[in-house]
């Protein structure tokens, strides 16, 4: 992990306001908490704000969420800088979070990283067309399907350099490939079909 800072001022929009739809959603979210505990809604609201801003959290959005919840601005900034799922600088439309923790590395995450470097560039660099950016993250909890990446909200698992390139090609062409394991495998069931509970299947 590195020190996480807000994006430089030239990238920051002047203001932020939820769209009418998101506003209504946020009010419903706040209402889930008992009176006086509205601050608890901060993570869903920041998450929604990030979604609305195209995958990152501008300073104005952090401030707006804090104001909506009646919090000191610093309290919202603490949360936004604590959780790495909040991006403090702009990201590409196709945002690749590449798992670089031990199981994925043992299963070939370094190859995927090389693909990212070649096709997209350095970590957190956005391609000139704004399509791609990538970042190495800690374990995403899908070790059984290692190596894997998260692209926007979906997991793409059991990758090889080739299948990963194909997925990026699809995104570049404006399509969304099917998430999940990219080999012949049902979710995280054993590769090549079940190895246990076969009797149960027959009866």
């Amino acid at each position: 992990m590195a020190v996480r800072r807000l994006a430089p001022p030239e990238l920051q929009p002047k203001s932020f306001a939820f769209t009418a739809e998101n506003r209504a959603w946020s009010e419903k979210e706040i209402a889930k908490y008992p009176p006086g505990r509205q601050a608890s809604a901060i993570i869903p609201l920041l998450w929604k704000a990030q979604e609305q801003c195209g995958g990152w959290l501008p300073e104005a959005a952090i401030r707006a969420v804090a104001d909506q919840l009646g919090l000191a601005h610093i309290r919202a900034l603490e949360v936004a800088t604590f959780y790495t799922m909040f991006n403090l600088a702009p990201v590409g439309r196709t945002y690749v979070q590449l798992c670089g923790t031990t199981p994925c590395v043992l299963r070939g995450a370094e190859d995927l990283k090389a693909v990212c470097r070649r096709r997209i560039g350095d970590e957190q660099h956005i391609t000139p067309d704004g399509q791609f950016s990538w970042i190495e993250v800690e374990c995403l909890g899908a070790c059984v399907n290692a190596p894997m990446v998260q692209i926007n909200k979906d997991y793409y698992e059991d990758l090889t350099a080739e299948s990963f390139e194909k997925i990026l090609d699809e995104f570049a062409a404006g399509r969304t490939p099917t998430p999940g394991p990219q080999i012949d495998r049902q979710l995280s069931a054993p590769v090549g079909g079940p190895t246990t509970l076969k009797l149960f299947e027959r009866t």
């Binding site: 992990m1 020190v3 996480r4 601005h73 610093i74 309290r75």
Partner: protein, 693 residues
């Protein structure tokens, strides 16, 4: 109560105690960084680890309750060890981790010599470092003109964050990032706005937050230390004045649970540079419109010449906000001997009169008593600006819950929520008459507190407002057996003492406000009165410390001693008599004010009967015996409040104004201080000239 064995010694402590408190009760010393008695428990520094027999790991004693300890297998009390090998090893380990990222810059660190980390690593750490990797580097943050940051040194105890959120009530500090990248900052490095922010410097156990005005000025071991009291407001906070040679280097708080707990306001702490600037260090005489340096005898002769030709009815004396009781008493004695009745210490025009009785001008419930109150009505006051430390006490009570607060007067951010009832006396009349919903709240309370600000009384209808407030206190049950909730919050340190010695106009004589009118006075004595208007044409004798408004207006200037340069009694707003001790000597030819008055009296042919401060105090105590009970309060008679209520009067409809507009510039010392002017400019919204250094 719950039994516990600490280091083999059995003790009985309340069940709600933490292990740390229990260990301290047993006499064991527990090192700590994040834990602080007056803040919430964080439990993140791990320095207070102790061994709890039966627990596989050492436990953080600050965050472990006595009631959470299990008894031994045979039902014996839980056993805690604070000196076992496990504890020693745990402390050494914690200390080693804390020091991993802590720079070895003690020789250039302002905390050096009074640093918890230094002391505790000597006491509990190991002698050498095993760490060979790079240390973490953190950018320094700009958080205002008073607090300097060196963030490499931060050990993430979060005391500063908890203080600003809980005690100061201005949640501006926070921790961004996480883990080793955690950094303490304000939102986008805005300056802090709390008037108690200087306290984070005292709270910081390391040198991450240090005093900016005091940066690199002195080392703690070269400073002399004098225990004194503060005169910046009427709270009379307990302070320690640190000086080197004759220069006051800094002011720190002393713990005094009855008054300031262990906080002081920024004005108290950082006004010290004002003690060196604009000082009057020799007498001056005005000749042909210009002030020229003069000798003491020239100055005295000029005054004597004036006194001889001026009738007593055309002479007056006004006492300012910083005067000690001794000099007020000496001036009163001198004026009595000259036959002068136009004397007044209420230069703001306050209506309070000692003739009404002492209970009518004291903060009767006492400052510590705020915590016993269960409802509060604030009338014409902004306690945050008039008495920041007292406001922290109100906030402390409010945080305990069940403390409805209402304000009549200016709407302002007081750091706690309140109901705003109205702006002027008519609302107070409504509440007193029970025509307001909040009146029922006060009536239902066991110990309602009615806080009346100095601003509500310093107006032409002040007497009527005081009576109205007393009526409200009577009607709403604020004055009863065992509880006197009628509280006057003064803004001037000298005021209660001056009222106690009766420095108010005699029968038919002029008040300070009347003396201000042109043509009333021919000769005026100002004892540090810089906020008072003085009538044009009058010959003004100014005894004071700073070249402020009073001195600019003066015809003769007699240089006096500031509060750190004399031993003096001050009576705070509660009526608590406190003694300020001398930390240094006044500059140049300046003298202690009582001695100036004593010398002047000789020249004027009315020699005052005391030759030393001891004799003066003896005379003072003879006339006003309650003043000799230092650090004690002689309570007023609650019946006075009933009599005040009966006085009646018709207040006008003007809205209340708080007594203090600019918190940072209320007196001549503060107005001379560069730091206070910077704070004032920041508070007014001007951008700081320096960003992060």
């Amino acid at each position: 109560m719950s039994k516990l064995i600490v280091d083999g010694k059995e003790i009985d402590v309340p069940t709600e105690y933490t292990l740390l408190q229990a260990c301290e009760a047993a006499g064991a010393e527990i090192p700590r960084f994040c834990f602080h008695e007056r803040l919430s428990i964080a439990g993140n520094c791990r320095m207070c680890l102790v061994e709890l027999v039966g627990s596989p790991k050492p436990v953080a004693s600050c965050a472990w309750g006595v009631r959470d300890c299990r008894p031994g297998p045979k039902g014996e009390p839980p056993e805690v060890k604070t000196r076992s090998p496990m504890v020693k090893k745990a402390r050494e380990g914690v200390m080693e981790f804390l020091l991993i990222n802590h720079p070895l810059d003690c020789p250039i660190c302002d905390q050096g010599g009074e640093c918890d980390l230094q002391d505790q690593s000597m006491a509990y750490g190991v002698d050498a470092s095993r760490y060979r990797e790079n240390k973490r580097a953190v950018e320094d943050k700009y958080i205002g003109v008073l607090v300097k940051t060196v963030m490499n040194r931060c050990i993430h105890c979060t005391r500063c964050i908890r203080f600003s959120t809980e005690v100061a009530g201005v949640p501006e500090l926070g921790a961004i990032g996480r883990g080793e990248d955690m950094e303490i900052t304000t939102y986008l490095e805005h300056a802090m706005t709390s008037e108690l922010q200087g306290n984070v410097v005292d709270l910081c156990p390391v040198g991450a937050l240090t005093s900016k005005p005091y940066a690199f000025a002195a080392r703690p071991w070269e400073l002399g230390k004098t225990e004194s009291v503060d005169v910046m407001d009427a709270v009379g906070s307990s302070i320690r004045v640190d000086f080197r040679g004759r220069e006051v280097m800094r002011v720190l708080p002393r713990t005094n649970d009855a008054v300031n707990e262990e906080w002081i306001s920024d004005k108290t702490r950082h006004v010290v540079d004002g003690l060196k600037i604009q000082r009057l260090d020799q007498p001056y005489l005005r000749e042909r419109g210009h002030l020229r340096p003069a000798s003491w005898s020239e100055a005295f002769q000029a005054i004597a010449a004036r006194v001889r030709v001026t009738r007593p009815e055309r002479t007056g004396a006004v006492v300012g906000d910083l005067a000690a009781v001794e000099e007020i008493f000496a001036l009163k004695e001198l004026m009595d001997r000259l036959g002068v009745k136009n004397i007044d210490a209420r230069q703001d025009g306050s209506a309070l009169d000692p003739a009404w009785g002492r209970a009518t001008y004291l903060f009767n419930p006492t400052i510590a008593g705020i915590e016993q109150a269960d409802a509060l009505l604030i009338v014409g006051s902004n306690p945050r600006r008039e008495a920041a430390v007292l406001n922290a006490r109100i906030r402390k009570r409010w945080r305990m819950g069940g403390f409805p607060i209402a304000v009549i007067g200016e709407r302002a951010d007081l750091t706690y929520s309140y109901e705003h009832l109205g702006a002027g006396p008519e609302t107070l009349a409504d509440v007193a008459a029970g025509r307001h919903a909040f009146a029922d709240t006060l009536k239902a309370a066991k110990a309602p507190l009615i806080l009346v600000g100095a601003g509500a009384l310093a107006r032409p209808d002040g007497a009527a407002v005081a009576s109205l407030a007393a009526q409200a206190a009577q009607a709403l049950g604020a004055v009863k057996d065992g509880w006197n909730g009628f509280a006057i919050l003064h803004a001037a340190a000298s005021r209660v003492g001056a009222l106690d010695v009766g420095f108010v106009p005699g029968a038919g004589a002029r008040t300070a406000a009347e003396m201000a009118h042109g043509g009333v006075l021919e000769l005026a004595f100002l004892l540090g009165a810089d906020e008072a208007e003085v009538a044009k044409g009058a010959f003004v004798v100014y005894i004071g410390t700073h070249g402020d408004r009073g001195a600019n207006r003066a015809d003769v200037i007699l240089p006096g001693a500031a509060y750190t340069e004399k031993s003096g009694l001050y009576v705070n707003t509660e009526g608590r008599v406190q003694i300020a001790e001398r930390a240094g000597f006044p500059p140049g030819q300046a003298r202690e004010d009582w001695a100036i008055l004593r010398a002047l009296s000789d020249i004027l042919g009315h020699k005052l009967p005391f030759d030393s401060l001891i004799e003066l105090r003896a005379a003072l105590f003879k006339a006003h015996p309650h003043l000799q009970r230092i650090d004690e309060i002689t309570p007023g008679d609650p019946a006075d409040i009933a009599r005040l209520a009966a006085r009646g009067g018709a207040p006008d409809r003007a809205p209340f104004r708080p007594a203090v507009d600019d918190f940072y510039l209320t007196n001549p010392i503060a107005r001379a201080s560069v730091v206070m002017h910077q704070c004032s400019a920041l508070a007014k919204g001007a951008h700081a000239l320096t960003a992060a250094e």
